[in-house]
């Protein structure tokens, strides 16, 4: 008789119960004692159904073991030895996939000189200097970009337009123009446009704040934490820190702009790795609604790059803050650690990604001169160009990109249980590290698995102790553009 063996999943405990996260289906199941016992025995070695029933006979009647085996088999948590697992099909996205988010780089200029900047720093991929690319987007290009966005949004009623830079607000006139034009054109077409921007907050003048509040523009502020951390890397050209300039302006913005929750976006480096302190400062002392953290994108030899020990320490701190999140969620209180919330939402929906993000698919970046790239981080790079706003997307280039970057072709990921959520990680990060967008980001695999495990536990614990909390993720039908960083 054929033997049974475990199939691919990640098992974990939460709220005193056993759970499995099945791969690649991304389903989360809670196990009862019988299914736990079956999996436990099969973890030791593969065995036949009758052996299994015999070994568990003291605990469960044979019928129950049989029933459990049947359920586990149908969920594909276990399978028969020698019966090959059906490979997940390499399913390509449908042609002419609608564009949901366009990131418009309205300028390449920035008034800060953050040491780690991927656009201007040591690891930049686009030659933003020497007049090679225009520094400011013109009204003409902004108009063409909006037309492009509405054209490419297909049947979608809602399009997201995100302004980015450089320092976005250095080209405030074109931003205003683009918004007005987008509203008019969208209204004519029976569509709506949602606006957001990312800024370093240095140029938040009262009239700009007023404009953002009145127009319900989503705002994400790049800020690294309290003064000593902000001033470590986020500096002006003369080297002086920016904290004292931005803090009062942000407070002003938070006071006036109440129409949308405002988030902070923190870049973590080897020298600013005190996550709880940063979080506390940005939420309690400054007043941000949410804080999202991302490790700096850099080649490994930079002194601010986060090395292995750094990732370990970062994971520990993320876990501590995630536990604060859990405590708040159990009491239905808001907690602004957006990294957890975003991940448990994906877990709840059972997302199993073919691509790490929507770049080149539902999201595209537009450079100052109207070139369309994978995302804002590649905007202006000729090697990662998908077309122009005037001539549209070169479908052959796009299809070629999607073919080469599908998870089915990432051999390194094929045995990793975290691949439904990670899918190899950021293209830009991979390009900066390894010089190739299609490479999985192997330098942070351990960290991703550790973090995914943490979020699975939080999700599962909520499902046991406060399932009502998770209902909010059911209601969210339309994808909301999160902050762009």
């Amino acid at each position: 008789m054929s033997e049974l063996a475990l199939r691919e999943f990640h098992s974990f405990q939460a709220g005193g119960k056993d759970f499995v996260y099945l791969v690649p289906s991304a389903a989360v199941f809670e196990l009862d004692e019988a299914s736990s016992a079956v999996i436990g025995r099969l973890r030791e070695r593969s065995m036949s159904r009758s052996d299994l029933a015999r070994q568990l006979s003291a605990l469960f009647p044979a019928d129950e073991v049989r029933e459990t085996v049947s359920e586990l088999m149908r969920a594909r948590a276990i399978g028969e030895v020698g019966v090959p697992e059906e490979p997940a099909p390499k399913q390509m996205p449908p042609e002419n996939f609608p564009l949901t988010t366009m990131v418009l780089n309205v300028t390449n200029q920035c008034n800060l000189s953050c040491t780690y900047c991927y656009e201007y720093g040591e690891d930049k991929i686009v030659d933003t200097e020497n007049g090679k690319k225009s520094k400011f987007m013109s009204e003409e290009t902004a108009r063409e970009s909006v037309d492009f966005m509405l054209r490419e949004s297909g049947q979608n009623r809602l399009a997201h337009l995100t302004f980015f830079g450089g320092e976005t607000l250095m080209n405030f006139p074109v931003l205003k123009f683009a918004m007005r034009y987008a509203r008019e054109r969208a209204a004519e077409l029976g569509k709506e446009v949602d606006f957001s921007l990312t800024t370093n907050a240095t140029l938040l003048r009262p009239e700009i704040i007023e404009f953002l509040a009145e127009n319900r523009v989503g705002v994400t502020i790049s800020i690294d934490g309290p003064k000593e951390m902000q001033d470590e890397f986020r500096v002006f050209k003369n080297g002086s820190g920016s904290y004292d300039i931005v803090a009062p302006k942000i407070r002003e913005l938070l006071k006036r702009h109440r129409s949308r929750p405002i988030g902070a976006r923190v870049t973590l480096t080897s020298r600013t790795l005190d996550i709880r302190k940063i979080y506390k400062h940005l939420t309690e002392e400054i007043g941000f609604w949410e804080v999202g953290f991302a490790p700096v994108t850099t080649s490994p030899d930079r002194k601010y790059a986060i090395a292995n020990e750094g990732f370990d320490s970062m994971l520990g701190q993320f876990q501590a803050l995630a536990n604060d999140f859990l405590e708040a969620a159990l009491e239905n209180r808001h907690h602004g650690f957006s990294n957890v919330k975003d991940t448990i939402e994906e877990i709840h929906k059972g997302v199993s990604k073919a691509y790490p993000c929507g770049a080149g698919l539902g999201l595209m970046g537009v450079s100052t001169d109207g070139d369309v790239a994978l995302c804002h981080r590649f905007a202006g790079s000729d090697a990662h160009k998908l077309g122009t706003v005037r001539d549209g997307i070169d479908r052959l280039v796009q299809i070629d990109f999607l073919e080469k970057h599908h998870i089915a072709d990432k051999t390194d990921c094929s045995k990793c249980w975290a691949r439904p959520l990670c899918s190899g990680g950021c293209y830009h990060e991979a390009y900066t590290r390894y010089g190739e967008t299609a490479r999985p980001n192997l330098h942070y695999c351990e960290w991703i698995r550790g973090w995914t495990d943490t979020c699975l536990k939080i999700y599962a614990e909520l499902s046991v102790r406060n399932p009502k909390y998770l209902e909010q993720f059911d209601e969210k039908v339309e994808y909301e553009a999160s902050s762009v960083s």
Binding site: L31, E67, H348, G350
Partner: protein
């Protein structure tokens, strides 16, 4: 499922599929008894009709006639009920019983 609790939405979808597989097979809704038997359908020797019934078996005369008349695309040796002989089978309520009452129609 008894031994697995589906937690997220994907698990719920899997459970729905599994439950559908575990349940008794769905009975097809009772269909009207239509005697059929021709090259269009698989009915070797007419051991049973398409619903598994045996009521209309072994009546080759009326079967031939009615099959060619109703279900066949081939120009058959039966009257053209659509154009010339709309009432051709008016007196024949049940083919097994009334087949003698079918009108004779001359072209």
């Amino acid at each position: 499922m008894k031994h697995l609790r589906s937690v997220n939405r994907k698990a719920q979808r899997i459970e729905n599929d599994v439950v559908a597989l575990q349940g008794p097979p769905q009975q097809p809704a009772a269909a009207p008894h239509i005697p059929l038997g021709c090259s269009l359908v698989f009915s070797p020797g007419w051991e049973a009709d398409r619903n598994g019934g045996t009521a209309g078996l072994c009546q080759p005369v009326e079967r031939d006639l009615f099959d060619c008349h109703t279900g066949c695309f081939w120009p058959a040796q039966v009257p053209d009920q659509l154009n010339h002989a709309p009432d051709w089978t008016a007196k024949c309520a049940a083919a097994q019983k009334d087949w003698r009452k079918i009108d004779l129609v001359f072209p």
